[in-house]
Amino acid sequence: MTYPDLPPAFQDWFASRGWEPRPHQLSLLEKGRAGRSVLLVAPTGAGKTLAGFLPSLVELSSRPPEPAGRAAPARRLHTLYISPLKALAVDVARNLETPVAEMGLPVAVETRTGDTPPHKRKRQVERPPDILMTTPEQLALLLASRSAEELFGGLRRVVLDELHALVTSKRGDLLALDLARLHRLAPGLQAVGLSATVRQPEALQRYLVPWRRPETEPDAAPAGEGREPGPLADLVVVAGGAEPDIRLLTLDRDLPLAGHMGALSLPAIYRLIQDHKTTLVFTNTRFQAEFTFQELWRINEDTLPIAIHHGSLDREQRRRVEAAMTAGKLKAVVCTATLDLGIDWGDVDLVVNVGAPKGASRIMQRIGRANHRLDEPSRAYLAPTNRFEILECTAALDAVHEAAQDTPDPRPGALDVLAQHVLGMACAGPFSMEELYEEVTSASPYADLSWEDFELVVDFAATGGYALRAYERFAKILRGPDGLWRIRDGRVAQQYRMNAGTIVGAGLLKVRLLRSSRKSPGSLVPRGKVLGEMEEGFCEMLSPGDTFVFAGEVLRFEGIREDEAHVTRAPAGTEPLIPSWGGSKFPLSTFLAARVRRLLADPAEWGRLPMGADEWLRQQQRRSLIPEPGDLLVETFPRQRRHYLVAFPFEGRLAHQTLGMLLTRRLERARLRPLGFVANDYGIAVYGLGDVAARVEEEPGFLDELFSEDMLGDDLEDWLHESALMKRTFRDCAVIAGLIERRHPGEKRRTQRQTNISTDLVYDVLRRHQPDHLLLRAARADAATGLLDVKRLGLMLSRIRGRIRHKPLDRVSPLAVSLILEIGRERVSGEAADEILAEAEQMLLEEANA
């Protein structure tokens, strides 16, 4: 069979491999010829990447040869490839080199990442390759340089890989702005998006192409009103191959009521590893990965090569694991979300997901990691670790069989990201505010940005945007007499380059082993190896002597020095004292939560629930009640001289934590003396000295009032004022917007501990003096969906209005057991400043009285 669109060299190459071009690959070729932007939605293993590059390879191979010698115009960049992961960019470049070399195509492919040496970076700008593979951050830096116009002026195509993973983040906002600039620099540019299956492909189709405002004055068209849907990129969908073979990992015994470690399932998982070629064992947290890895080795009688991979391990160690994996030398890798994205790790034939899947699309993408061939089913097991997770896994399996998707909706672009971009564009060259506004609003996340907000952002970039005009003389960008904005001097550009990017690490500390000193035996010196990195926040909550699991071993925390956490190996057999750090980053999706609520409410379905879940729910039905899907069950009961209030909203841990903070405040005001609370993905338990049930008896509307939506008013505001999570959210915005520097020219990179100003202090001052400041607005917008999930909490409160089912009990119910067993296991990032101080003060009194 011949393909008219495909030059003979390509046809021969496909034939030599025994392949035929796939319909979507040909379809992208056709779109390329027609000059259309296109979104390719395909499951893993469909040859997505080759499809994305085929049009460029064909075009480049049919270029007239360059006249040798002679001052021919330098070649310009033809195709840009953007990947969310540096490693993926490198991997794809390697994969692309094979067809290029085998067909002998005159095409130069290069990568540009943070690791690219300076001389090569310089050369890449002066004499660019045909195809450049890079990351959104590197693209932003290239666009913020004076040579951007020359470099990208001839760009024909930009390929955005794993687009679904990028668009709902701040990196996606920045990439959208950069894409808008590329469209301006290179008219006629084709954008090609590669994505896994998503719920709303239109959002991604819109993301790829510039949206143009109708011919009106910028301020004449009110933002967001009566707007045309705008142009969309074309869509090519590859139907999902074989239906995945995915099952619940069922044991012949009951699962525990609480806990997340899944120790019971490990022997079964080990047997699966033995029976398969290569298994990926996904976990939700690093701690879970560490635990699983340790326990698998404990039972690893055949000493199978089992490795661990997560984001905070030392880079070299990760590379070794990746290399061994690609070479097919490993039987299994225990990993976290770091292996979610599309790097091809050789022949994985089984995926095991330990713990709750959290979202239907997420689990499908993970399952897709097994068997990178489209026509064969992916094999996967979901291994729940407790009874609630049996419900969640079952709901997820149902969703997978229906191919239902729950990828998050697109969100409006973040203002802090825009502030960084505006400064970057000023570094590239003088800009007119009107033109830049047109460009920025052509990016889909910013299509609704008002002119007023844009002015605020520019004002922020210039002088901080304060009502008190104190910094005019220090302005970073200035408007000249010609009406154009320019950077003040070269230092501003240098400062921008050193601080660009939207990834604000939690602030990481190196974890270094201490060794005994040779000079003075008995003392320890920080000369041992670096095991990896951990969040500062976690380290700061450790006291010397605390033990925890990291990099596959139990470590003893010794202290922090500058940007290092010092540790020693704990004696063999030590049980780690600190049980966990960080919960799952991904809360239970709204979609899956609704399915879990429906499953729970339908006793006819319970027969499918194995490992004790069925009986557990029947006991709940007998001893308390089973809520309707739209109801909120609130149980109250006394236990060990405390009174408990337990509720099951199923809205995810983050929203529940926020709810817990707010309920505690309200109960305190109602003089019910709350002592603390615990939250997980399914519910929340508040405990205290006051009897809530007795109060409900006196005051029948009490619970409705307690859960009323107005808690999102003043109570939320009060709490946000002191919330550590809010401060962290603000800090990230402040760093991205450039208010706080990560680095200053001439200085080493700082860790959060070394910044010369505490963002908490800045937050306090700004909140008191200019509560509507741009950065506080940005932080509030993030809090709505991020760490505080206020938006979801709000939707829940309005959903359950008038639908609270209160069940006073004389003891804990079967469902509630699962929650209160978590008390003391999970840490809540609390704001109990004075309580802690008061407790510590007792120590002094006791000391004095001793």
Binding site: Y466, I578, R753, I757, L761, V765, H773, D834, A840, E847
Partner: protein, 236 residues
């Protein structure tokens, strides 16, 4: 209830200790009041730190001087001292006084004018312009106490600043970090009052040197000042 009375009632409670044999009030504003000599002592105001960083391109909110002066004014109106001693680093840099906004300049002038005022010089502000009012000094003797910017190890009975002590307490996996007065009954290192002044952890070896007999940390909480033993504190 009048607003002033209400504010009075909501004012976080301080703590009274004895320092070099005389009473001293450790106030939640970070100021220390000596009732015998009617003297209010404040350390490390770091006025105009915001604008100092803005010069370098970090456009921090320019409200820090106003906020610091408001806290200072509140403490002054509460204690009505005859004398005020600022323990150095009152301005974040030498040019700080020139950058004061007109409104802040007026507020400061009004505070200084009402009482006997001494600016002790610090490393950030080794000299101060005449126009600020008050007098400058390297150190001040007050009864049995010496007031200076930089604490001097070995010497006794002093009030000093410079180090910005903060205490950190971690219990049950939750932590709090707050400004603190550190004292052994003879020496007291005061917390920084400046809105943008960071802090040095009380467990830093610098403090062990100053307090060989150990110290008590009087930590400024939201509702009141808490008195904690060294053993209750942890490093960063």
């Amino acid at each position: 209830m009048s607003a002033a009375l209400l504010a009075q009632q909501l004012r976080p409670e301080g703590v009274e200790i004895r320092l070099a044999g005389s009473p001293a009030l450790l106030d939640s504003s970070g100021a220390l009041y000596l009732p015998d000599s009617e003297t209010l002592v404040v350390a490390d105001l770091h006025l105009e730190k915001g604008s100092s960083l803005a010069r370098r391109g970090s456009m921090l909110p320019p409200f820090d001087t106003g906020a610091t002066l408001a806290a200072l004014a509140e403490a002054i109106s509460h204690f009505r001292p005859a004398h005020v001693v600022a323990l150095g680093d009152s301005f974040h840099d030498r040019r700080g006084p020139d950058r004061l906004l007109a409104s802040d300049r007026r507020t400061l002038a009004a505070l200084v004018a009402g009482r006997d005022w001494t600016w002790i010089l610090g490393n950030h502000d080794p000299a101060l312009p005449e126009g600020l009012g008050g007098r400058t000094a390297e150190e001040v003797e007050l009864g049995r106490l010496i007031l200076r910017h930089h604490p001097a190890p070995g010497s006794q009975r002093e009030l000093a600043g410079h180090l910005h002590p903060v205490a950190k307490v971690v219990l049950h996996g939750r932590g709090v970090r707050a400004r603190a007065f550190l004292t052994d009954g003879d020496r007291c290192v005061l917390p920084a009052v400046g809105a943008y002044a960071g802090g040095l952890n009380a467990c830093d070896p610098a403090f062990d040197e100053l307090f060989p007999r150990g110290f008590t940390a009087h930590v400024i909480g939201r509702q009141r000042v808490f008195s904690l033993p060294r053993a209750a504190l942890c490093g960063d």
